[in-house]
Amino acid sequence: MIIQIDNLFKVYRNGSLEVTALRDVSFSVAVSEFVSIMGQSGSGKSTLMNILGCLDTLSAGKYHLDGEDVSKIKGKKLSIIRNRKIGFVFQAYNLLPRLNALQNVELPMIYAGASAKKRRNAALEALDRVGLTERVHHKPSELSGGQKQRVAIARALVNEPAILLADEPTGNLDSRSGEEIMGIFQRLNREGVTIVMVTHEPDIAEHTKRIVAFKDGRIVTDELVLNPIQVG
């Protein structure tokens, strides 16, 4: 299993106010799976993704990532796990505006300590995998939303992580660009990349192989998609 979580709880405390965002969530993701997570607003999807991405800590339960218990890891070791094991794609792209596409993709490799030459080659290759061979020297502000998200996906892939996590990757895109992104995900998944993504839209979720639905911080359904919509 790439991801194995058991009896996961997440409680937010703001002074005396307590919000339980995740209640007793257990599930696992195997190699080469393509999972979408659905649910109403506030059902805990982003909370789960942030914990899976080692950006946030869990309140109770266990989380094994790629065979390693990461529930208690902190500080520098956690940064290294984020860097090597996880590729995160955000709804808002989160590219650095002052760097061009290529430099943005190189960033995770900089923190991995790769040489300039190795970085450049790997970044160009990752951009190629998401179908972006032109405009690699352009700043994010000069790219379309779909292009920006492709740069972000290339950036998430560049260190060859164990898992690709995407929180509403198509949320800011029109349906055609969203469809393109799903095509890229499907191709990557065929190449062996394990993907977990959050989406609101059933049409988008139908492109994946498995749908996990959340309600009030709990998993309510977990079903395989019989005939995923194939792009292209």
Partner: protein, 402 residues
């Protein structure tokens, strides 16, 4: 990420905010420029001062009557040409130079106008004590002193004021003292190299035989000051106390004379210049600290503005250390660049200011290197807090920041 890349990336970010960066650096630039300017002027002043006294002065002792004793100095305690004569016979002594001063007004070309002149009465050995750069004619000679001859060696600028030219040997000047007027034959013209003469309209100096001045002042045999040049530099301090003792015996009094080495006076002036430089340097240093606080302020703003960037970098695997280093380097680049600009400005500022007061500023490599290191250190010291603040940001909250 290696250091070189960190520096280029930080330099890039500093450059991207050019205007703000320059404004942030301003405090550092001014502080460093002030430090460089002040130390170079102070050093230049010290250099020219030491140069002036280097050849002379080393073996020179200054003899003066002490007026800080409880009982006032009696007439018999006064230094006279007899004292000069007496000291001349001492085996350790090369020359003895009496000096008395007065002032006079010298009539200019237009007989209704005159100028104030310092008149120094001395003898032919004066040039052992202080450099006199005689351009035309000669300095005072023994025969002038013996005869109390009405002759003078004048400053070239006085010559220019009176005659409109400097080659005036053989001309006479009319000098009016408070007790009367005398015509003096110019036997020599010297060029003054007084540091201050370029800056202000200072009175010029004329040298006349001490005997003549005594006669004019009705001062019997008295001299105000005696300079003694000694043979043995090693024994200068002993010679000084011996001269004081011998003079007291000669004048039949006790502990009435102060004999100081010119060197000790030079040292005193040097240490005074050093103190002034040090003090002004301290003020400049305080302004550097203020500049550093300015840098800290802007770095805190920068960290807040770039919260989202920090969140993104952390989500991609940047450690707290990476983030802290990034902002520390940026602060350091700001202050170090400010330092370099300050050094350049201070260097030229020193020359500009030096030009005004006819002084060559001096700046040494250790000072420059020290200043660059100091400005970088200021970056580190005042960059640490903002950089730590950046490093401690929670990635989720940072990513949520708008």
């Amino acid at each position: 990420m290696n250091i070189f890349e960190s520096i280029t990336s930080a330099a890039y970010s500093v450059f991207a905010n050019r205007m703000r960066s320059i404004l942030t650096m301003l405090g550092i630039i001014i502080g460093i420029a002030a430090v460089i300017m002040i130390t170079s002027i102070g050093q230049g002043f010290q250099n020219s001062f030491n140069e002036m006294f280097a050849e002379f002065g080393a073996g020179t002792l200054e003899v003066a009557v002490r007026h800080d004793r409880p009982e006032p100095a009696a007439r018999s305690d006064m230094l006279t040409l007899e004292s000069v004569e007496f000291l001349s016979s001492h085996p350790d002594v090369v020359s003895v130079t009496p000096i008395s001063g007065s002032n006079a007004r010298v009539q200019l070309r237009n007989p209704t106008e005159n100028t104030r002149v310092n008149v120094i009465g001395t003898n032919e050995t004066f040039r052992e004590v202080q450099n006199v750069d005689v351009r035309f004619g000669r300095f005072l000679a023994e025969i002038d002193v013996d005869r109390a001859a009405p002759v003078a060696v004048i400053d070239s600028s006085l010559a220019r004021q009176v005659f409109g030219r400097t080659d005036v040997v053989g001309e006479t000047i009319r000098a009016t003292f408070w007790f009367g007027t005398i015509d003096l034959l110019v036997v020599g013209v010297y060029r003054s190299d007084d540091i201050m003469s370029g800056m202000f309209e200072m009175p010029t100096t004329a040298y006349i035989p001490i005997t003549l001045l005594q006669r004019l002042l009705n001062a019997d045999n008295q001299v105000q000051q005696i300079f003694v040049n000694a043979h043995d530099l090693e024994r200068l301090d002993q010679t000084a106390s011996e001269i004081a003792r011998l003079l007291s015996i000669f004048h039949r009094n006790e502990d009435r004379y102060r004999v100081t080495t010119l060197m000790s006076q030079i040292d005193q002036i040097n240490s005074m210049i050093g103190m002034i430089t040090g003090f002004v340097g301290l003020v400049a240093f305080i302004s550097l600290v203020v500049g550093g606080i300015g840098v800290m302020n802007i770095m805190l703003v920068t960290v807040t503005e770039r919260t989202r960037e920090i969140g993104i970098r952390k989500s991609l695997g940047a450690t707290d250390g990476n983030i802290q280093f990034q902002f520390l380097i940026e602060a350091m680049i700001l202050t170090a660049t400010g330092g370099v600009i300050g050094i350049i400005l201070g260097y030229y500022g020193g020359f500009a200011l030096g030009g005004l007061i006819d002084l060559v500023p001096a700046i040494d490599v250790p000072t420059v290197i020290g200043t660059v290191i100091a400005s970088s250190l200021i970056g580190i010291i005042f960059g640490v807090y903002p950089a730590r603040k950046a490093a401690k940001l929670d990635p989720i909250e940072a990513l949520r920041y708008e």
